[in-house]
Every structure is written in C-alpha cells, then in structure tokens.
C-alpha cells in the first residue's frame, strides 16, 4: 500500500446527511491497475463512497483526487457527475439502471457517443464529422458487446434482458466511455453461480486486457476473495480494516462487524 502511483486518493472524507454521518474520515488509496474491493455490512457507506467518487454527492470535508495519468491530478469534490465521467471514471449501479426502452446496442452506443463532439447542427445536417463519428461508435459498440459476450442480444430491448445480461450490458455501457477506472456497485447481485463465474472472468479481463483499474463493491465473499488484490472494510462510515484477502478473513474486527461481537473478541 505504499506506492506512489495511485489512481484515486481519498483523504479524510466526511459526508453527512443532516445529522447522519454517512462517511466518517475515510481515507483510501486505490493503486493504478489494481482490483480494490470495498466490503462492509449494509448501511456501512459503500455506495455513499461511490457517489462521492463519481461526483453525485459532495462531501463536507476531505479531498478526493483522481489521477487519470501519473502526472495529472483532478479534484473530484465539487465536480458535477458528467465531468467526473469525462475525466475517466465510469460506474455501474447497485440496482441496474438501463435505458429500458432502447436496445442493447443503443445502450452501449450512448455510452460511446457521450465522448463525441457532434452537436445538434451536425446531427441534423449529417455533416462529415457526424458520419465519421457514427461509424466509429457503431464499430466500437459492436466490439464492446463482443467483449462482454452479448453479441446475440444486440437488438434486444434492454428491459427484456435477463438479470445477468443486464449487468454485463451495464458494464459494456460504462466501458464505452473509455474509462481509466471502473467502479462496480454489487455487480453480482441477483446473478446465479454460473453467471457469477463468468462475471469474475469478465472483471479480470477488463483489468488485464483493457488495463482498467477496478473498484468493486460486493457482498459475495467468494467473488471478492477470488478477485480482489486488496480489500477495504467499511463499517458505520469508517474504514475498520484494510489488507489482502487473507488478512481480512482473519481480522477479528471484520468478523465482528459481519457476525456480531464474539466472546473472544470481547475479551
């Protein structure tokens, strides 16, 4: 954890909703190219952390710095979500948020197109640049659907996809924005064991083949332990443990947070 190439630096972030403290002095370092997992019981503040990292919530205290490359540093706090996404942070949602009335292909295409410059005039007149960009986004969307193995669903409407496919589609859409880091919020929720395996493989491929750092919230411990290089445990808005999967599995504080206080821990 002592490295000088972090992609996300979260320092002393505190987020409150009225009197409720959702995040309390959270500090996290996410290294470039790493699969980092955030776990914790329900209400621990995991999704709040994600929302802070993507600009949806603005924390009252602390700083969040995003390094799209080694030399660049971008302050996330106070940046609107779409500009955070432009900087290279992509995310998926806890409850999948598809554009339901659009096809799988269109969903991914919107992700790809969000980076393009075509304006309304170009779109109306079909200017050369628009055609060029349209061609590129078509091609890129097909590539991405192939990458997540959804080619057979290209023209299916998003709301008629099975659950596992929705998760993949959401990931493909996020990848369309060409991110540096991908934030996955419980991607395995509601999927069956074989889908989970495929998902783990996909996440690994995103990490290795596309060279994208991954921040993962997940409740499925098997998946987390097999994927994550490092794990951070949140409870009641604070970091209670950090380390490799082995260290976390044996950490008494974590066991207490998940299972309640045991007699040994009390002594």
């Amino acid at each position: 954890m002592t490295s000088n190439d972090p992609i996300f630096e979260v320092q002393d972030v505190t987020l409150r909703f009225g009197g409720v403290t959702s995040l309390n002095n959270v500090s996290i370092q996410h290294e470039r190219g790493e699969i980092l997992s955030v776990i914790g019981p329900n209400g621990a503040g995991k999704t709040s952390l994600f929302n802070c990292l993507t600009g949806v919530y603005v924390p009252q205290e602390g700083s969040i710095t995003f390094h799209p490359s080694v030399t660049k540093a971008i302050n996330i706090v106070g940046r609107p979500p779409h500009r955070v996404a432009h900087a290279g942070v992509a995310r998926t949602f806890q409850t999948s948020r598809m554009f339901n009335a659009l096809t799988t292909f269109e969903n991914v295409k919107i992700g790809v197109e969000a980076r393009q410059k075509t304006g309304p005039i170009g779109a109306m007149l079909k200017l050369p640049r628009t055609r060029h960009e349209e061609k590129y986004s078509d091609q890129r969307s097909h590539e991405l659907l192939e990458f997540v193995n959804l080619t057979h669903r290209t023209n299916t409407l998003a709301d008629s996809l099975p659950y596992g496919d929705r998760r993949r589609l959401e990931i493909a859409r996020a990848l369309g924005t060409d991110p540096k880091v991908l934030l996955l919020d419980e991607p395995a929720a509601g999927t069956n064991p074989s889908e989970k395996l495929a998902l783990a493989e996909l996440i690994n491929r995103i990490n290795t083949e596309l060279d994208i750092s991954i921040l993962l919230i997940e409740h499925d411990m098997k998946l987390v332990m097999s994927l994550a290089e490092r794990i951070i445990v949140l409870n009641f808005g604070g970091v209670i443990a950090e380390g490799t999967p082995q260290q976390i599995q044996n950490n008494p504080l974590v066991i207490e947070a998940y299972l309640g206080a045991s007699d040994e821990a009390k002594q």
Partner: protein, 611 residues
C-alpha cells in the same frame, strides 16, 4: 391457426359472420361520410343537409368506397389469419385466385373490371376535389370531368398505385402477374410519370405559351414549379427503379410471409403520393379551406413538431410554449415598425426569420438555464409562469407592444433579389401555404435526422434515467437547454408566419389555452413521433374548422375545449401513448405502467436514495 392440409377446403372459401360484420361497418362508414361531407343544410332545417346528402348522387361514390374498403378489409383479414394463404408446394387456390387464373380470358376480364372500378373511383375523387357544386354526381358532371386535364393525372396515378397494390396482394398469395420485362417497365414508369406531371398541372395551357417566360406577366413562373417538381419526382422514381438491384430471382422463399412487404420503391411511392396530396390537393380546395390550411393547420404543424422536441424527445413538460410563438410574432412586428417602439432599421419578413430564431432561442436558453434543473411538475409551473409573463407584457406594456389595441400593419413577404420581384398577395392564400411548406418539410426531415442521431439517443437516455446518463458523461442540463432552444426557435418561425399573414397582432392570441392546445396536438398524435404529431395536428386542427364549416352540425367554437378535454380523458384511458406513437415512447409508457423504469409519460425522474 394452422392451414396445413387438415383444414377443410370448403370452409376457407365461405364468408363468415365476421366478414359480413366488417362489410356492413365499412358500408355504414361510407354512408356516414356521405352525410358528413354532403351539401350544407340550412340553419332553419339542419336535416335538409342530411336528406340531400343521402338522396343525391353524391352518396353513390361513398357507397362504392364503403364496398371497396369492406372488400379490402375482408381480404386482409383472410390473408392475415391464414385462411387465404398460398403455398407453392400445396397450391390451395382461393376463389379469387381461381377466378383470375382459370384462363387468360377470365383473368384479363377480371383485370379489366377492376381497372374500371379504379377509374370510376378516381373520377369520383377528381370530381370531389373539383369546383364545389351541388349534385356533383350527375352523369353530366362526371362526363364534364374529362374536360379537365387533372382527371387524367389522377387516373394515371391511380393506375400506378393500383398496380403496386395488386403486385403486393399477389405476393401474399401464390398467384403472381407474369413479370414485365424490365426495360419495358422502366419505360412505362417514365412515360407514366411524365404524363402525370404534365396532366396534373392545372395551368397546362399556359405552360406551353411563351407568355410564361414573359417577365411582364405577374406570377407566371411560379405557377409551373409544381410541374418541375413532379418531373423531378418522376425521374427519381424511374432512376431508382432502373438501378434497383434485381434481388428477386432465386432468393425468393417458397412461402410468402403474411405481412405486407414494404419495398423501397413502395416507400418512395408513398412519399410521392403524400407529396401529391400536400402540393396538389390544396389547389382544388375552396377558399375557406385554403385559408384554414395555412392558418389552422400548417402553422400548428410547425408549432407541434417544435413542441415535440421539448415534450416528446427531451421529455420536458412545457406549458408556456406559446410565449416563444408570441416572441417570434412580436419580433416581426418590431422589425416591421408596427410597434410603438421603432426599430433602428426595417426588415423584410424573410430577413426577420433569422432574428426571430435567434431571439426565441436566446429566450429559451435564458429560461432554460435556471429552470431546467427542476423536473416534472416544477418545470411545468415555471414555464406556465413564463407564458403568462410574456402575455401580460404584450398586453400591458403599451409603450412597447401597443397592448390590447393591437399593433400596426406588419410588412408582407416579398422577394426583391437578382431581378426577381415577387410580392405575396394576401388574397392568394396558397402562396403562403407553399412558403410555409418550404420551412415545414425541411424541418420535418431535419428533426427526424436529429431524433435518430446521437442527440436523439442522448435525449432518450436522459428521459429514461438521468442519473445513469450523467454517469456516462452526458451533460443533462446542456441537452435539455438544447431541446428547449430548438423548440423555442421553431415556435419563433411559426410566429413570423402568423404575424405576416394576419397582419395585425393582438395579445389575446397568445393565451395559455393556446399552449395547452398545442400540447394536446402532441399528446393526441403521439409524443416523440414526428408522423404522429403531424397527424395529431392535422386531425385536431382540421376538425374544428370542419365543424364550423357545416353550420347545421350545431358546433359552437366556445365549446371546443370541452370536447378536447373529453377527448384527452378518453385518450389517456385507452391509448396513453397517442394515436401514432414512437416505438421508444410506447415502450417507456408500458414500462412505467408496469412499474419498470423511471420515466413516466412526461419524464419525471425518481432519484436514487443514498444507501
């Protein structure tokens, strides 16, 4: 329903009660139409109109229409449910096929009979679209129709359409006309279209005189441009047929699908037919309809497709849309020097259009930037307020807008350019209509391109899930403001047209009710679908004019909103997506009824709760 071998042959040929019902409905429909479009009744005796409609020869035409439509419906239904289906491997022929294929003699006989039927219908159509006369259907009147070149144009077009329809019908069954050799076909098409373009020109005699080229004769050149238009269409059709790939041979599946196959040439023919109706039909209308075609229908089509961008594409409820319309109109008045506040320079209305666009757009952006952060109901209330502000300003700021006394006279459209001098004549109503078409048709195509581009998809994304859209890097506010500005500028252009045509502006034209009427056009036709919205605008704007025209129906203009309200309630219950909805919008509304997705009919967005 399976049609393979097992179904008894006898049952297939007989007509059942469903077919009888269909037939009766169609004929009754024809009769109702006859009553509705018949001669005027007197106010003292409104039934007079009904009586004469039913007793005059007029009714024959509608009865024929009814029978034909009934036959068509029956035929379609039979083909659709598989009762009448051809199958190459096991030919089970229907009575129609049998009649047509017994021998070449009977085939040609039936073709001739059908051709005569088509000719009669066409003649009736030509008659109806001709000068308004009582008892139009007398034999004498029909014979008289042959004196008009127009009739031949209709005939040729009808035959062209008829052949396409027959070919399509044949595709559905096993029976096919022997294919016509291609060069002959192309030649025929060229000649057809050429003849049609010539004969459909009501100014045919003048066309062939040198007078047409004489600059001293006012308006002469402008009378012939439709001829050139049809020539272009004809050439395009012929060329597209000539260069069409021959995909038929060898690749044709043995069994035809039940659905109507829409080929590119059919689509093109549809465009041509629509173009014909839009360009040619108004020439044969009475003055009353020529006026309302521009003022009641055309301008509102433009307004409706503009509002469709805001409500249909971007999913924002705008209740103050008429404000931008008013702005366009008052900008025109300002630059015409018709307001108490004098402009620095006077402009021709054509040059005012860009100003109106820019000013309406700017005001859209200014209103949008602070308010589009609101959503759903709040936005509706703010826009409602904006509409009222503009109305009150127009009404009360008398130093600038002249208030309820009305503005002065507004300059008319005219062209003075490169030696062309043409001024629009307020009495020549169609000249305004064609000018409006010059704006409306490009707008329809441009907005359609827009909807199917990145921008349209982005709007769909924002409509459905703003949070997810933002997480992809979409600046939702920017796109909403964009939609607002484009809708506003369209209304601005509509404002210029209205102002110039009407000549004098009164603030009470731009009341809240008008905003709501335009919104109703959009909702009724089908949000998000340009065709639907145009359809809604044409139907809903035509109907009051029609009811007013036939005074014996007892329609009172003041009750209009009563009917519109009732119509909306019925629509919302039975068809909330509108008459001709867009595919995306229909899905969204179905989804939200099932509790899926976050977009309701007007794009109110629910937010994720922090967990």
């Amino acid at each position: 329903m399976s049609v393979e071998a097992s179904a008894p042959q006898k049952r297939n040929r007989s007509l059942n009660s469903d077919d009888v019902r269909r037939m009766c409905t169609a004929i009754a429909g024809g009769l109702v139409l006859a009553i509705m479009t018949g001669p005027d009744g007197a106010i003292s005796d409104p039934t007079y109109g009904v009586k004469t409609s039913l007793l005059s020869g007029h009714v024959v035409g509608y009865l024929i229409f009814g029978v034909i439509i009934g036959c068509l419906l029956t035929y379609r239904a039979k083909v659709k449910d598989g009762t009448w289906r051809g199958d190459r491997t096991t030919p089970r022929r229907t009575s129609m096929e049998r009649a047509m294929s017994l021998s070449s003699v009977s085939r040609y006989a039936s073709l001739t009979v059908t051709a005569f039927a088509v000719a009669i219908i066409t003649l009736i159509f030509a008659d109806f679209s001709g000068p308004v006369l009582r008892n139009k259907m007398s034999m004498h009147a029909i014979a008289h129709q042959f004196l008009y070149t127009r009739t031949y144009g209709y005939l040729i077009l009808a035959f062209a359409l008829w052949f396409t329809v027959v070919n399509q019908a044949m595709r559905l069954t096993t029976f096919r006309l022997r294919s016509i050799p291609r060069p002959l076909f192309v030649l025929g098409a060229i000649i057809t279209i050429l003849l049609f373009s010539l004969t459909s020109d009501p100014f045919l005699p003048a066309r062939f005189s040198w007078r047409a080229l004489n600059p001293g004769v006012a308006n002469s050149l402008f009378h012939h441009w439709t001829t050139y238009l049809w020539l272009t269409f004809g050439l395009a059709v012929s060329l597209s047929w000539m260069f069409k790939r021959d995909s038929a041979r060898g690749t044709r599946p043995l069994r035809r699908s039940h659905a109507l196959v829409v080929t590119p040439s059919m689509r093109f023919l549809t465009y041509v037919a629509a173009g014909f109706v839009v360009f040619e039909a108004p020439k044969f209308m009475s003055t009353y309809w020529q006026i309302s075609l521009f003022q009641q229908i055309g301008v509102f089509c433009l307004l409706a497709i503009g509002l469709n961008i805001v409500v249909g594409f971007a999913g924002l409820l705008d209740l103050g849309y008429v404000a931008f319309y008013a702005l366009g109109a008052y900008v025109t008045a300002y630059f015409s020097g018709a307001l108490p506040l004098q402009p620095p320079f006077h402009l021709n209305p054509f040059l005012i259009i860009p100003f109106a666009i820019i000013i309406a757009m700017l005001s859209g952006v200014l209103l949008g930037l602070p308010t589009l952060r609101l959503r759903g109901d709040y936005l509706a209330i703010v826009t409602l307020g904006f509409g009222e502000i503009v109305y009150v300003l127009a009404n009360d700021w008398t130093q600038v807008t002249a208030g309820s006394a009305g503005t002065g006279a507004i300059t008319n459209f005219s062209i003075h350019f490169l030696g062309i001098n043409y001024a629009w004549n307020p009495v020549n109503y169609l000249s305004y209509y064609y000018l409006l078409l010059g704006v409306l048709i490009p707008a329809i195509f441009l907005f359609d391109f827009l909807n199917h581009s990145k921008v349209g998809r982005t709007w769909a994304a924002i409509r459905e899930d703003e949070v997810a859209a933002q997480s992809l890097g979409i600046n939702a506010l920017k796109y909403k403001v964009m939609a607002f500005a484009m809708g506003a500028s369209t209304a601005g252009v509509a404002g210029v047209f209205t102002a110039v045509k009407v000549g004098v502006l009164f603030p009470n034209t731009f009341v809240l009710q008008l905003s709501i009427s335009i919104l109703v056009l959009v909702i009724f036709g089908g949000m998000g679908s340009i065709v639907g919205v145009l359809f809604g605008a044409i139907v809903l704007q035509w109907l009051p004019s029609y009811l007013n025209f036939h005074s014996y129906l007892g329609f009172e203009e003041t009750n209009l909103y009563l009917y519109i309200g009732a119509l909306l309630i019925v629509m919302m219950i039975f068809r909330p997506q509108g008459l001709v909805p867009s595919r995306r919008r229909r899905r969204e509304i179905l989804d939200s009824q099932e509790g899926l997705g976050s977009a309701d009919a007007l794009g109110a967005i629910t937010y994720e709760q922090p967990s």
